[in-house]
């Protein structure tokens, strides 16, 4: 992926550093049953969709764990090579925060390229890279993304400087309405990072988490093959 603008697809990028005022470890403790699977503090009221009244202040939990939410908490995210300081509700998904929240200086974060289509990990329109790993932005909380490097579609190229996958999508008309396209481009890019010479079947399988309604699949396969060949220098 030599064309990648930010060069930030390096999976070795630091991901353990605690950032912002809420540490990942502290959050996990505070989150309790709120979705991560550990039930250390079941009394916590952080259920992503069960909070009836936003803005309430949660009682501190027992022990060393640090309680967050349900009100806004400051976080710092690494997105497309930029650091974004932002106050988020703990229940907000990474996707929603990047698309529609404002940063601490009051400007929209405005990474609207990735779309919310199903909002429950069925369609792949929100596919992003988190530490180089293909991730649905709709099923990761923004606070979970702290300390990880997030790449959205905007981080892969611009209209004037597209990556090989994006160029191939345009050439082969692998997009129609374009709404699934950002997720598809990210998914193909992730595939080609792992497998420089995928078979048609491997391409199909790797994209099975993504839905297109206009019917661009065959051309996406074609685009993936063209991009792979170019990236190999074939």
């Amino acid at each position: 992926m030599s064309e990648t603008k930010s060069g930030s697809l390096d999976p070795k990028s630091p991901n353990t550093k605690t950032q912002g005022s809420v540490s990942r470890r502290g959050f996990l403790k505070g989150l309790g049953a709120g979705g991560i699977g550990s039930a250390i503090a079941p009394a916590a009221v952080l259920g992503a969709s069960t909070v009836a009244t936003a803005g309430a202040v949660a009682a501190p939990v027992q022990g060393r764990g640090e309680m967050v939410g349900p009100g806004r908490v400051p976080v710092r995210l690494q997105v497309n090579g930029e650091e974004v300081a932002i106050d988020v509700e703990p229940r907000e998904t990474l996707l929603d925060v990047l698309r529609q929240d404002k940063d601490t200086s009051g400007d929209y974060v405005d990474f609207t390229g990735n779309k919310r289509v199903c909002d429950r990990a069925s369609c792949g329109a929100c596919s992003m890279l988190v530490d180089g790993r293909l991730t649905y932005g709709c099923t990761m909380l923004a606070i979970e993304a702290q300390g990880h490097e997030v790449i959205t579609i905007e981080g892969l190229g611009t209209p004037d400087s597209m990556n090989a996958v994006q160029e191939a999508f345009v050439e082969t008309d692998a997009l129609m309405c374009g709404f699934c396209t950002p997720g598809m481009v990210v998914a193909v890019t992730a595939l080609l990072e792992e497998n420089q010479d995928p078979t048609r079947d491997e391409i199909r399988k790797s994209l099975d988490g993504n839905i297109c309604r206009c019917g661009t699949y065959p051309r996406i396969f074609e685009a993936a093959e063209i991009a792979a060949a170019r990236m190999r220098g074939a």
Partner: protein
């Protein structure tokens, strides 16, 4: 029986170029066929030909018909394209709509107080007052707007509704019961008009072979990836909405009517949108609701529906159920076709489907009725009615061919409307799919994997009109073409640039295309496959007028008569004098400070209507699991003058994929006890994905003499029918309903075809029809 390949043409017809070569031989027959297809069309063409006609398509085309990547490809591939859903206006608020969670209910009380006081709420808006009857799961009740989306959701939960839950009906069969709750004041059955010809009873009796059967199709939802919605913002008395729509002018008109403000005060903006498929042709409750909330809050408000709302309340393709009796004679003539049908479009009618679909039959009888149910209403969906009529008719055709021991392609050829294009398309499709491998129903190959082939044909109206455009050529040589159409993913923006550039001798990148805004000259909604035949002629005429105006302006300075100037590639030249020319920018500079600006509109003679097609499918059925895999689809679609072969092929691919998804996966499932849709999501409402894709063998049958034709809908029509026929051909038993799920395939194999048909109640429909007939006799 013998299975000689039908087509004399080589099976290697793979792309349009070789296809064109192949068709070169056939052109006279094709032309004759086109002219004979539709008498009314031919008559109209004759009238049009008699009218003085100023404009025609260039006979030598430099850009038109090439493979040109779409102009907005780069912004879409990089996430730069800004959809309505992506609009982040300063001070933006989020609107959410509370919807009925029952099949039918009356509002006993509605209290917005708690919602109104919730944190962040800036406005509320009531859509259904106390006492109102809510008619389906998803019927809107009230809306809130708040500073953040989370706050809007929280506030929505605080809306207090007390329901009186009423009896509901969500299936056609329940709705037809004599004591069923009445969805409509006029009853739940709207009996359709009877159409008949000849004497179908006698023909059925005289037929050498007969077939009787019942078929059923499901309700399909459009499932556009960008949900319906708008961002609405008031600036004084002016309302701007960024709308995910197929019709910017339709939305403007509706909001102007709703708020009783002049249309000039409403601005609808849709630079890009994430799919519509017919569901976004006109306004929905979300448009005016967002504008209401924006007006009362004084803030811009975004309402983009959530996925469940999109399934519940933005339209669907109605179901179709038909009981068919058909007969044919030993010479392979379809002689009788009798069908009684019903279907549901939810709380509205409009569940019609054409039958018999396309084939000629001397004796026919057809009556289709609409059944009202407590479910979200239907809207036009990609070729409304046609895939349903096609699936049923083509199944009957195959069953009759089997009984005649005749090749199904040959049987179809025998029964086509006279001299039609389909004969040609069937020949080509047979070659494309490898029909020489066809076997009678039931793949004799040992083992669990059975292969089968099937085919089906399609027809669609298309046709154009209703479009204006304006074009400005600036003194610096830059060009803008404006028209109030919209690009719904079909490539309209690119098509406008190609046509303009072709006429002016420029490149597509040189043209600034302004579309997707109701402030631009009128064009209709993008539906009915009419966009290209509407927009292209208007753009061609307007570009031609602009060029003429340019010539008028610059001719004196060039000391040449204006009518002696012509556009060349990047230059203006003198007719018949290749040596004398000026570069485009040099010529435009002569304009000085005053650009050339003209208006034009659609004219006859540059587009036409009537689009035919044929598709063939090859499938493999795993008889142990019931899973159907579509291996290949060969598609031959008539498309007149192709403007951009690349985007045209994408349209056909998309139609096939939509048809495949309809054939095998999609189904709105209503829960009878609760009256709710149980799968308003993308987990249980399954649409085709990457691993479901067959090999695509797509051919544009371009006949430039016809002018431009639309291609959005036709290619989705025959796919499901062809796949269903291929499945029956593979396993030797027919699945009588869509979608063809593994469960139904296994049911067909182990229990017979009747196991593949969900409950139908023609007895109830027959009784209603008889009662209505008696009633009318009494009068």
């Amino acid at each position: 029986m013998a299975t000689e390949p039908k087509s004399p043409k080589p099976a290697t017809v793979r792309n349009s170029e070789t296809l064109r070569d192949a068709l070169e031989i056939e052109t006279p027959r094709m032309r004759k066929a086109i002219e004979a297809t539709r008498p009314e069309t031919v008559e109209r063409w004759a009238q049009e030909a008699a009218e003085p006609r100023q404009w025609s398509w260039p006979s030598e085309r430099r850009l038109i018909g090439q493979r040109i990547p779409r102009l907005d490809g780069a912004i879409k591939a990089t996430g730069e394209a800004t959809y309505s859903y992506d609009i982040n206006q300063p001070r933006l608020c989020y609107g959410k709509i509370l919807r009925c969670s029952h099949g039918r209910a009356r509002i006993v009380s509605l209290n917005m107080t708690a919602a109104e006081r919730a944190p962040g709420v800036v406005a509320v808006h009531v859509l259904a007052e106390t006492g109102a009857i809510l008619r389906y799961h998803g019927d809107p009740i009230a809306a809130v707007a708040a500073e953040t989306e989370e706050q809007a959701r929280d506030a929505r939960r605080l809306i207090e509704v007390e329901y009186e839950v009423l009896p509901h009906v969500v299936t056609e069969e329940d709705a037809m019961l004599p004591d069923a709750p009445q969805v409509n004041e006029d009853g739940n059955i709207r009996i359709g008009r009877l159409r008949s010809s000849g004497d179908v009873q006698a023909a059925l009796e005289d037929a050498d072979v007969n077939f009787e059967g019942i078929f059923r199709t499901q309700v399909q939802t459009h499932s556009s990836l960008e949900t319906h919605g708008v961002v609405a913002e008031w600036n004084g008395d002016d309302l701007t909405v960024w709308a995910s729509t197929q019709g910017v002018h339709a939305i403007r008109q509706s909001l102007s009517n709703y708020f009783e403000i002049p249309a000039t005060r409403v601005h609808v903006v849709t630079p890009v949108m994430g799919g519509g498929f017919g569901s976004k042709l006109g306004p929905g409750v979300e448009d005016a609701t967002a504008a209401e909330l924006a007006r009362s809050s004084g803030r811009p408000v975004k309402i983009l529906l959530e996925r469940d709302e999109e399934h519940l309340d933005t339209g669907n393709r109605p179901s179709a159920v038909a009981r068919v009796k058909a007969g044919a004679t030993q010479d392979g003539t379809l002689t009788a076709f009798e069908a009684t049908g019903y279907g549901t479009g939810g709380i509205t009618s409009g569940a019609n489907f054409p039958m018999p679909y396309i084939y000629s039959v001397a004796n026919s009888y057809y009556q289709a009725s609409a059944i009202y149910t407590d479910a979200g209403n239907q809207r036009a969906m990609r070729a409304p009615g046609h895939p349903q009529g096609s699936f049923i008719t083509e199944a009957v055709m195959d069953e009759l061919a089997t009984r005649l021991q005749m090749d199904p392609v040959e049987f179809r050829q025998n029964n086509l409307p006279e001299d039609s294009l389909w004969g040609e398309q069937l020949d080509l499709g047979a070659a494309g799919i490898g029909w020489e491998n066809w076997h009678p129903p039931g793949d004799p190959t040992p083992g669990p994997m059975k292969k089968g082939l099937g085919c089906a044909i399609s027809t669609w109206g298309s046709g154009g009109g209703r479009t204006r455009a304006s074009c400005t050529i600036h003194p610096d040589g830059s060009v803008e073409m404006n028209t109030g159409t919209q690009d719904i993913g079909t490539g309209t923006r690119t098509i406008v640039a190609i046509v303009t550039a072709e006429i002016l001798g420029l490149e597509v990148e040189d043209i600034t295309v302004n579309i997707g805004n109701s402030d631009y000259p009128y064009s209709g909604s993008s539906g009915g496959s009419t966009t290209i035949p509407s927009v292209c002629p208007a753009v061609r005429v307007t570009a031609g007028l602009a060029l003429e105006a340019l010539f008028e302006q610059i001719a004196p300075q060039l000391e040449v008569a204006a009518d002696q100037l012509e556009a060349r590639v990047g230059a203006i030249g003198v007719v018949g004098n290749p040596g004398r020319s000026w570069s485009w920018s040099e010529a435009c500079r002569i304009l000085g400070s005053q650009p050339v600006s003209v208006d034009g509109q659609w004219e006859r003679g540059l587009s036409s209507s009537g689009v035919n097609g044929a598709q063939f499918a090859a499938v493999t059925v795993d008889t142990e699991t019931g899973v159907v895999t579509v291996d290949k689809v060969s598609a031959f679609h008539d498309c007149g003058l192709v403007i951009d072969e690349l985007t045209a092929e994408s349209q056909v691919n998309g139609g096939i994929i939509g048809g495949l998804s309809y054939a095998l996966f999609e189904e709105r499932i209503m829960d009878r006890p609760s009256g709710r849709m149980v799968n308003p999501d993308f987990e249980m409402y399954h649409v085709a994905g990457p691993s479901d894709m067959p090999e695509f063998d797509v051919h544009m049958m371009d006949v430039p003499e016809r002018g431009v034709l639309g291609l959005g809908e036709p290619p989705t029509i025959p796919t499901a029918a062809a796949i269903a026929n291929a499945v029956a051909n593979a396993i030797g038993v027919r699945v009588h309903s869509l979608p063809i799920t593994p469960e139904k395939v296994l049911g067909a194999l182990h229990e017979g075809p009747e196991a593949t048909l969900p409950t139908t109640r023609f007895d109830l429909l027959d009784a209603a029809i008889a009662a209505a007939a008696e009633g009318s006799d009494d009068q």
